[in-house]
Symmetry: C2
């Protein structure tokens, strides 16, 4: 965490004192202000919005040639913009909003630009869910006349409504919001900007833009201060989005000398490995085994969702933990992994993830030829029906965990490292927050590293977006991260398939890789 | 004049061919376009307007990965912007408008950006004349609530009306206009941008801005292509406007090794002296003798206005020439100078510019103690009354011509030159077009240089603005000119007053300076 002081020095709000005009120094007001801003910001040029120029001469005279300036820098052009001036003697709040634009959930956080304090935070369903739960359906919806515009407007209107609500909650006006930083996957940011994602899902998978420039938020229809700017995090390609770049920023991987790895499991699995001099990245959707995402089974975390499972190895009694301890209504990714690990340790599934009927007993039933395992009985569940997991669900998990392990193996191998060389393993997202690393290691999804190696990062996309709201240095990091990343195309060649096949066992065909499971 | 070829190479319209996307080269559309534009324009960054991004993926595929690009460079930041893309196989016109925003008259010229051809040109009264004929009245009108906004809107609406008219005349849409270059005095450009001129007329005479950045024309309410940009020529201070910088650009003074001088006589007298390594400038309104402008007497050139006068030295018969040979309705600056020179040569006024009653005869009458001289009789004039010039008018001319000569003497002296060292003497504006240098030399307004030294520049402000519509190099010259100029404050000290007093005689107390009059 930074101190208030370094925040102020590095941040977007600067109070300046202008020299007084005289017959000997009769520079124009704007040029006088630019002069001191250039010195303060160590730059050659500061652009002043025309609307500010219209107020400037009145304000600086009223304020005795001092002003609290809200500035922002375009990281691509290194161009500074003056986007607001306030009376230095008044304490009018200056805020920004960070947005994590997920396919399913959107998180919005309002932050005071000077203190960095979080003033308000909310999350809500992506309104595009009404069009389709997955990205593909939404992209196809754009082929209809007005389809893109409608998907775009869903997002913009909901974001405006939520920002308005955030302002009301904080007793602020939308005028007081000067900066929006938004991170999302490539498709979501394209929807946000009103850009067609049509060619992202068709070979050779081309987005409209990789690095959006800093724009006025109004350009996108976002209703904050009219001079307020919006930064959309860049993407590397169609499958490597700005959310992961925000995550890398938040993790600090790009600034450490010791190599670290970051895994973000959302709709896709995205992995980054590197340090302050190199970064290698790949995204899971590149391999056919991963289509539909690593965590296809399970539902999103929420009250009543099973997130932890323990099975007594002797009695085979199942103990589940639900979020907010509500009656169980479903199971999320971390719950499924916990369940699989415990089933395996209790001998209720075999090395290939198949249910062992004799060990499962009456918990296992066959419906239409498909084995189902009852995790929570109908009388204790929150739905009135039993909560079950099918063999197909388990098979899917096995494929997913094998793909994840194979990706991790491939990416470390690509830079001449082994999985055991990893000293820091960041796990982002709700997956990272809820997952029990021991269970993930048990099923061979994650490598057998000391438990302390695994560090949950939380919503790293939102955290990364938040970071640039108060720090110029963080904003500039974005471009550096993007430039540094080598994107590794996951060639589904024989080596990949061999590794994938080997990883489809629990924990792995090569059990020597998982000494802690002995 | 530049050739069509160099225009294209240096200009704002560039046709580019993009590399084709493939799995091996899956850069985003925008980044692909930026790549080739960066190479073409030799720059690090090109900004693409969001509205263009929205069309881009469809267009470049329809156009087989080629595009005619309209680009523009912000001379302050050296930042390039892509503001339009067109089908390279269609010949849709791409135009710009140059504007000379005068206190009294406004000139608008529509130019084809590729060929540089003038498609349309018009001039009209500055609509602010309804508020007041002079700048001062208009500035004071801004103190009323809504005053500035109303003055601003008069200009913007009339400019929009005229641009619309120009488009209709050329069978174009306002969409086809991508660039506006506007030059005017500091007050007029402030009115155009909606910036308060209030402190420009109050000590220490501070404008709001000296160097406006390149903005979207829409920022100022100008209705051309929504992505179209507007360049407002910079000013040096309250009394040295962008119109003169445009004039310097047009004259080419700043690019020649031989020093030359440029005089622009409008509401004020502005003078620039220099070459490719230095420029010194001063403006006439800086001296109290010049208040109200050098050419206070006389009316604007127009049909029926006397612009040339000859007096037979023997018979004292007066022969006048009027514009379009219409019956005389008034006399303009050049006519007054011609008249004074001829009166002096015929012995009808003395060295101090006083009427000589015995030489003037019955053409001279006294009304309320003031001598009046009849230039055109009531029966031949176009107004039904005699056209007369008073002793007060002549006194005013003498003060003006003395001020002009003193300024010329002061500015050449400031760089260690004498007036006789001047080899090229540009005279801008209608004044420069109509003035007879021989008459101006006769009354000692201009120094006694060979007639060929004096070169009329025409509307150099409009010409300078036109130049940047087709040439990036010219646009960049603006900043170089502005940086190079040393603004000479005309200190009304004893030396200035002595020179001024000596210049109040016809042609001068020191007649040796005017050998040609012998």
């Amino acid at each position: 965490m930074k101190t208030g002081l370094s925040r102020t020095v590095d941040g977007w709000v600067r109070t300046v004192n202008l020299s007084l005009p005289s017959l000997q120094d009769n520079t124009a007001d704007a040029d006088r202000l630019k002069h001191i801003l250039r010195k303060t910001l160590r730059t050659d040029h500061v652009h002043i919005d025309t609307n500010i120029l219209r107020e400037l001469p009145f304000h600086i005279r009223d304020w005795h040639y001092a002003a609290r300036c809200i500035v922002i820098k375009d990281p691509a052009t290194e161009q500074w913009y003056l986007i607001g001036i306030l009376n230095p003697l008044e304490d009018r709040p200056v805020t920004g909003v960070a947005v994590d634009l997920g396919t399913s959930r959107v998180a919005v956080r309002m932050v005071a630009l000077v203190s960095g304090n979080v003033l308000y935070e909310t999350s809500f369903d992506n309104p595009q869910l009404q069009v389709g739960p997955d990205v593909l359906t939404r992209v196809h919806a754009c082929d209809q006349p007005g389809g893109l515009s409608s998907l775009n407007q869903m997002l913009i209107q909901e974001l405006n409504r939520q920002i308005h609500k955030a302002c009301q909650a904080c007793d602020l006006e939308t005028q007081d919001v000067y900066f929006m930083a938004l991170a999302g996957n490539t498709c979501m940011t394209h929807f946000f900007m009103g850009l067609s994602p049509r060619w992202m899902i068709r070979e050779p998978y081309i987005p409209v833009i990789n690095s959006p420039d800093l724009e006025r938020a109004a350009t996108y229809g976002i209703q904050i201060n009219p001079a307020g700017r919006a930064l959309v995090f860049p993407n590397i390609g169609s499958y490597f989005g700005g959310d992961l770049i925000a995550g890398i920023l938040h993790s600090g991987i790009g600034k450490q000398t010791e190599p670290a790895i970051l895994v973000d499991v959302g709709t896709n699995a995205e992995v980054v490995l590197g340090n302050d001099s190199w970064l290698v990245a790949c995204a899971g959707a590149a391999g056919p085994a991963l289509e539909g995402g690593v965590a296809r089974i399970g539902m999103m975390a929420g009250p009543g969702v099973v997130d932890r499972v323990r099975i007594d190895a002797d009695s085979h009694a199942i103990e589940v933990h639900t979020i907010e301890k509500m009656p169980a209504i479903g199971i999320c990714g971390s719950g499924v992994i916990d369940l699989a690990a415990n089933l395996f340790l209790a001998g209720m599934i075999d090395l290939r993830g198949r249910f062992v009927p004799e060990a499962c007993g009456d918990k296992l039933t066959i419906q239409a030829g498909m084995p189902f395992f009852e995790v929570v009985s109908a009388d204790t569940s929150g739905t009135g029906s039993a909560l079950k997991i099918s063999q197909a669900d388990l098979d899917s998990l096995i494929r997913s965990k094998a793909a994840m392990y194979t990706i991790l193996e491939t990416i470390t191998d690509s830079v001449g490292m082994t999985l055991n060389d990893l000293k820091t393993f960041y796990v982002a997202g709700t997956f990272g927050t809820f997952i029990d690393p021991v269970s993930a290691v048990t099923i061979g999804m994650l490598p057998d590293l000391p438990t302390g190696t695994y560090r949950p990062l939380g919503n790293s996309s939102l955290e990364g977006a938040t970071q640039v709201l108060t720090s110029c240095e963080s904003l500039l990091q974005i471009g550096k991260i993007k430039e540094k990343i080598t994107y590794l195309e996951l060639n589904v060649n024989q080596t990949f398939m061999n590794r994938f096949s080997a990883a489809k066992f629990i924990p792995h065909t090569d059990t020597s890789r998982f000494p802690s499971l002995k």
